[in-house]
């Protein structure tokens, strides 16, 4: 299990391959799910030119670690990897990667969705967009499920 908060651009596919090579036996996992959230070049009808992602160092890691532990208790997982970008981003940059390895697809899907929903609703990150109308804080994430 790995949780990484990074202020450098990351390649989600490279992260997955590296983690899989280092941490998982081939033939052990039947199912894996991935979510990648990337920075779009528009939001709320406006062009977005850049983004700054702030976090609460210490609390963010602690929160994600607890989420990962909870996912591991609720579902049968072989491994998971969470990478989240902070700092200055350009459109198209990956923001978040959640990868879950399991024997079976139900666990892999459910755990991935749980991690993303909890991350988006509670993990202490904040986005500030640089738009054509000036800088603005994103006020609220779109609700995912049950909203």
């Amino acid at each position: 299990m790995k949780i990484d908060i990074t202020d450098r651009p990351f390649d989600p596919w490279q992260c997955i391959q590296t983690h899989q090579r280092d941490a998982l036996e081939p033939g052990s996992h039947g199912a894996m799910t991935v979510f990648v959230g990337s920075m779009r070049d528009f939001n709320e009808g406006d062009e977005v030119q850049a983004m700054e992602l702030e976090h609460y160092p210490g609390m963010t890691e602690r929160f994600l670690q607890r989420l990962a532990d909870e996912a591991g208790q609720r579902w049968s997982l072989l491994d998971l990897l969470i990478v989240h970008r902070v700092g200055y981003l350009q459109p198209g940059d990956p923001i978040v990667l959640v990868a879950v390895w399991s024997a079976h697809r139900l666990d892999a899907y459910e755990a991935n969705r749980f991690l993303m929903e909890a991350l988006k609703s509670r993990a202490p990150f904040w986005k500030k967009e640089q738009t054509s109308c000036g800088p603005r804080w994103v006020e609220k994430n779109t609700p995912g499920y049950g909203a």
Binding site: Y56, G58, V96, W126
Partner: protein, 76 residues
């Protein structure tokens, strides 16, 4: 002493990222805000943490705690 941290739009609104309060002057998280911002009620959607765990504003604080105030999160 109680250390206080602000993040994101709340940090910008307040104009600084940290504060501190004598522990003897406060009993709860809400007191911390009140002592530091007597003219300014805590914004309705403010989230609070003590020692990096989410808490209600009514939660107690003790000497050495780190209290944080921040707006709704927007990561992922």
């Amino acid at each position: 002493m109680i250390q206080v941290r602000y993040f994101a739009s709340l940090r910008e609104r307040i104009g600084r990222d940290t504060d501190s309060v004598e522990a003897t002057r406060v009993r709860t998280v809400a007191d911390v805000w009140q002592v530091l911002h007597p003219q300014q009620p805590m914004p309705a959607n403010t989230l609070c943490a003590v020692n990096m765990d989410y808490v209600d504003p009514s939660s107690p604080v003790t000497d050495g705690d780190e209290v944080a105030f921040f707006p709704p999160v927007t990561g992922g």
